[in-house]
């Protein structure tokens, strides 16, 4: 099946080792040194580790290898996502320091868990084996269960953590059971072997196999927050500390989608083998978009609104699965990339604005932001317009790409429902713009952002506008981010 690389293959996993090393180091430091040192050094270590790992990940672009007896896989698809997670990690480390200080979150734990979560995501996306995928997923999920509850005094945060843990564990059980059923039906644990098995001809859609697939989809549906598996999202997103919410909405979502895509696109030839899968995803896409957007319409809490809107965005991403070809997959990767930047930008702005007492931000808190800090208001407008999909922001190009794929595959109604949903979305996104520009401020004081969040917002704005006008380089790069062609 593939060329065996000798066991001594650690040069392929340098980024993972760096991230793990830094996470462990932060944990040790937390235990053995003074509080001040931890505060200064843990952030530095997390940042430096992510940047170094990003460097080595980028250097690995273009290389393909299956290592550790094919339990671990290095390919451009994985490399793309690893780089994305590391960028997310860098942005979140940069943007969250002030927030942590204000809310008295223990820094060592926070940064260590953040890195462990990133490590989990990196493992998830670099394997074609169910076992490794599951290990990565668990590592990520457990880190995030804890991260959600770091605001120990705040009952919303504790609720968030607990809820995510319970439902997450449930979803994991589904996923694992699905994998077990597939194994029972086919006798293989690797996606490439599964593909070969399905293509070999002596394969029947047994009930066990179908049940396994269904369980798998449900399990990942929970992680990606697809309707009807989305019920946990608003509470968890709202209660978690804002940087963690940003991390979940971008990183976890991207990781879960990456795995879902691998699991579906590698073994199944979607056009012929399982036509009704496309119908299933068609239905899921539409449900997810509509429910996400309509519930977002009536939210007053901004974080809650963004949570529902992230469900809606998952619906747009499902268009790629409905279309089910590689070009559509590329559109999904581009959308995930764009979404990460605009969403982190928006959440970083929430971190700056959030009050110390931890009460959730509402639209009213944005009143007159254009007067209190014109720069932040402008940046937020850019993010919100991008989320709506208005040109010349990157979100528009992402939607153009996805909907273009839907049209090319002649899923006209899906595209029509999709764009009409973005009109719905315009209403609630613009509500915030309205409060920022059209209303008078409740307090007169200026909002001041510290250097870290400011840098994150600048980066996010730049990328959002740049990719909106010049998407070509990145789109062409993504064209190389395919699966390993074994």
């Amino acid at each position: 099946m593939m060329v065996m690389i000798p066991e001594f293959a650690f040069e392929w996993i340098i980024p993972e080792m760096i991230v793990m090393g830094c996470a462990l180091l932060i944990l040790l430091m937390e235990a053995f040194s003074g509080e001040r040192d931890v505060r200064v050094h843990s952030r530095f270590l997390a940042l430096a580790g992510s940047i170094a790992a990003l460097y080595f990940t980028a250097a690995g672009w273009g290389h393909t290898a299956g290592i550790f007896n094919n339990l671990y896989l290095v390919d451009n698809y994985g490399t793309f996502f690893k780089a994305l997670f590391l960028v997310i990690s860098i942005l979140i480390c940069l943007g969250s320091q002030r927030y942590l200080e204000r809310h008295a979150i223990v820094m060592g734990e926070y940064y260590a868990l953040l890195l462990f979560g990133v490590l989990g995501m990196m493992v998830m996306v670099s394997s074609s084996s169910f076992i490794t995928i599951f290990i990565g997923l668990e590592l990520m999920s457990i880190s995030i269960y804890v991260l959600c509850g770091l605001l120990r005094e705040n009952h919303l945060s504790v609720e968030s953590s607990f809820k995510y843990f319970l439902i997450g564990a449930f979803a994991t059980a589904f996923l694992l059971y699905g994998m077990a059923l597939l194994y029972a039906a086919t006798g293989v644990l690797d996606l490439y072997e599964l593909r070969d098995y399905l293509g070999s001809g002596d394969f029947f859609l047994t009930p066990t196999f179908m049940a396994g697939l269904a369980f798998l989809t449900v399990g990942l549906g929970f992680k990606t927050a697809l309707v009807p598996f989305h019920m946990w999202t608003p509470d968890v997103y709202e209660g978690a500390p804002t940087p963690v919410t940003a991390y979940m909405a971008t990183g976890v979502k991207a990781a879960a989608f990456a795995v879902l895509a691998r699991m579906i696109f590698i073994p199944f030839d979607m056009q012929s083998a399982l036509p009704y899968w496309q119908e299933l995803f068609w239905l899921l896409a539409i449900l997810t978009m509509i429910v996400g957007n309509i519930t977002a319409l009536v939210q007053d809490g901004v974080k809650r609104m963004l949570a529902y809107s992230s469900i809606a965005h998952a619906g747009y991403l499902l268009i790629a699965f409905t279309v089910g070809n590689i070009q559509a997959l590329e559109a999904m990767l581009f959308y995930l990339l764009v979404y990460a930047f605009m969403n982190i930008g928006a959440f970083t702005l929430l971190m700056v604005l959030e009050k110390k007492n931890g009460s959730p931000l509402t639209c009213e808190d944005f009143s007159g932001l254009a007067k209190r800090n014109p720069f932040l208001a402008l940046a937020m407008t850019v993010f919100l317009l991008s989320l709506t999909g208005i040109p010349p922001m990157a979100g528009f190009m992402g939607k153009l790409y996805l909907f273009g794929m839907a049209i090319r595959a002649e899923y006209y109604w899906l595209a029509v429902i999709g764009v009409l949903n973005s009109v719905l979305a315009a209403y609630y996104y613009l509500r915030i713009v309205m409060f920022m520009y059209f209303k008078d401020p409740l307090q007169e004081d200026r909002v001041i952002s510290s250097a870290g969040p400011f840098a994150v917002i600048i980066i996010a704005v730049t990328v959002t506008i740049y990719l909106g006008i010049f998407p070509r380089t990145v789109v062409n790069l993504i064209a190389y981010a395919g699966f390993a062609p074994f």
């Binding site: 528009f396 090319r408 009409l420 009109v423 309205m434 789109v475």
Partner: protein
């Protein structure tokens, strides 16, 4: 025409650059910001003037074309160029923007910087929309127009500004997202035949999509444009947006933004899908006729001056649409002329109402009466603009309406007859408005102390009045620019429409096209 000098790119980039410069000026100094904004808008007008003189009247092709690769894999490129139609509209845009900057001089006191930034970004978007020859590029500029206008209405508008702004945004966006899908579907259908994606208008003009697809695509394009025009029954956002917008916002909205809808039909919806346009023409014409009469009747009943003028826009743009869908020279040329007229005349009316509002802080007709005694200069200006709006011979309104009616009569007598009643109703509501505001006794004591126009205001209105007479007395000057373009357009549409129409039983085939 070989033009090494990139006029259009400069026209598109200059206001945006100006907006960025404004962002870095100190907000404590509104005077400086106003001056810089004025200088930029005048400079923009100055750059657009050479287009008029260098434009070759004898060619109906695109001129001043500039092309640069943008995203070849997706078939989109930066492709701009103008013909006789967009030339006139671009000049109208640059002129009106300069007038608007001047008109907002004292009107806007709050957040001056943001106001002019929004205005200049809007100008970039408008010029870009008019110059784009690539569908995706066009769509990007088209959507870009929404944001600054949304802010202009929402921040500096009247009491119900928030409602009006959101309604404006959602209505327009609803139409345009479906147009985006139609663009994608058209590109896709083109690619199915030619093997490459292209949003280039030259390529797409040559392509005749399958008939069943054409109907859907025309429907989607038409919906976007019909909402923007706006035609009955999609006009409900307009009275709100017009009434609540600040004066300059109303002027630009009426003067340029509404024209984007009619321009869209002319440039995209009709020539891309001529067969569908001919087949659905009667729906559009019927809706235009309803709009003409309904708009006029609504005008008679209004108590708010701005709302009245807003409904008069519905009526006037009904004329424009009727002319466009007459598919003959008189109709189309009259429509284009009427687009310019409406921009200048309605713009002028909004300016006058704005000046009155600035003095009196009310727009209710009942609050006025006898103003001609205290403001004689204003009364003269308003008289001229009102008469132009009615279409008195000697003013520009006459030429446009006359040609449209002529075209409509040639196309279908019933259409012409019904539209003519709109002209009569137009005289009713405009003259009655003038009478109630300007003549009679001064009922309200405050009105007797109103000051007449300042020099700045006289300058603004003189420009408007000058254009009214120039276009009314010497229309040849303007028709020369567009005659060849329109002739070529009509030939193209009828030729392409006939290629596409294989079934002779269809409604529009026996219709006289082109002549």
């Amino acid at each position: 025409m070989d033009q090494s000098f990139p006029y259009l790119t400069i026209l598109i980039a200059l206001p945006l650059t100006g907006a960025i410069i404004l962002l870095f000026l100190p907000r404590e100094n509104p005077g400086l910001i106003r001056v810089v904004a004025l200088v930029i808008s005048l400079l923009e007008f100055a750059v657009s003037l050479p287009l008029w003189f260098l434009f070759r009247n004898d060619s109906g092709d695109m001129q001043f074309v500039e092309q640069a690769p943008w995203f070849p894999e997706w078939g989109i490129s930066y492709l701009v160029g103008i013909d006789g139609i967009s030339l006139l509209l671009i000049l109208l845009t640059t002129l009106l923007t300069a007038i608007c900057v001047l008109a907002s001089w004292n009107d806007i006191k709050d957040r001056v910087k943001e106001y002019f930034v929004a205005f200049l970004v809007l100008e970039t978007a408008m010029v870009g929309t008019l110059a784009s020859l690539d569908l995706v590029l066009f769509y990007i500029f088209w959507e870009l127009m929404l944001i600054p206008m949304y802010l202009l209405i929402g921040v500096w508008g009247g009491p119900r500004r928030i409602y009006a702004a959101i309604k404006f945004f959602l209505f327009t966006m609803f139409g345009s997202v479906l147009m985006l899908l139609a663009i994608l579907a058209l590109m896709n259908s083109y690619a199915a035949q030619y093997g490459v994606l292209s949003a280039n208008l030259y390529d797409l003009y040559r392509y005749v999509p399958p008939l069943s697809l054409q109907y859907w695509l025309f429907g989607a394009f038409a919906l976007a444009f019909v909402i923007k025009v706006p035609m009955f029954p999609f006009h409900t956002w307009l009275p709100d947006a017009h009434t609540e917008a600040p004066t300059a916002g109303s002027v630009i909205l009426a003067g340029v933004l509404l024209k984007m809808g009619t321009y869209g039909f002319l440039r995209f919806a009709i020539p891309l899908f001529p067969e569908a346009a001919l087949a659905f023409g009667w729906i559009i014409s019927a809706s235009a006729l309803i709009g003409i009469i309904y708009g006029a009747i609504m005008c008679i009943m209004q108590t708010d001056m701005k709302r009245l003028i807003a409904y008069s826009s519905v009526s006037h743009l009904g004329f424009v649409m009727l002319g466009l869908f007459a598919f003959n020279t008189q109709g189309v040329e009259g429509s284009i002329y009427q687009m310019l007229n409406h921009g200048i005349v309605t713009g002028g009316l909004f300016l006058v109402v704005g000046m009155i509002y600035e003095r009196r802080h009310t727009r209710m007709i009942a609050d006025f009466g006898g103003l001609s005694k205290v403001m004689p200069v204003m009364a003269v200006f308003l008289m001229i603009i009102t008469l132009a709006s009615i279409g008195l011979p000697g003013t520009n309104g006459f030429i446009g309406e006359f040609l449209i009616l002529l075209g409509a009569f040639k196309f279908n007598r019933l259409y012409g007859a019904l539209a003519a009643t709109g002209v009569v109703l137009g005289a009713v509501y405009m003259l009655w408005l003038y009478q109630r505001v300007m003549f009679g006794q001064i009922v309200h004591e405050v009105n007797s102390r109103l000051k007449d126009l300042t020099k700045r205001e006289v300058l603004i209105l003189s420009t408007v009045v000058l254009l009214i007479f120039l276009m009314g007395i010497y229309p040849k000057m303007f028709f020369r620019k567009m005659e060849v373009t329109v002739a070529q357009y009509l030939n193209f549409v009828s030729a392409k429409g006939q290629v596409a129409s294989m079934s002779p039983s269809r409604l529009p085939v026996n219709m006289v096209i082109g002549k």
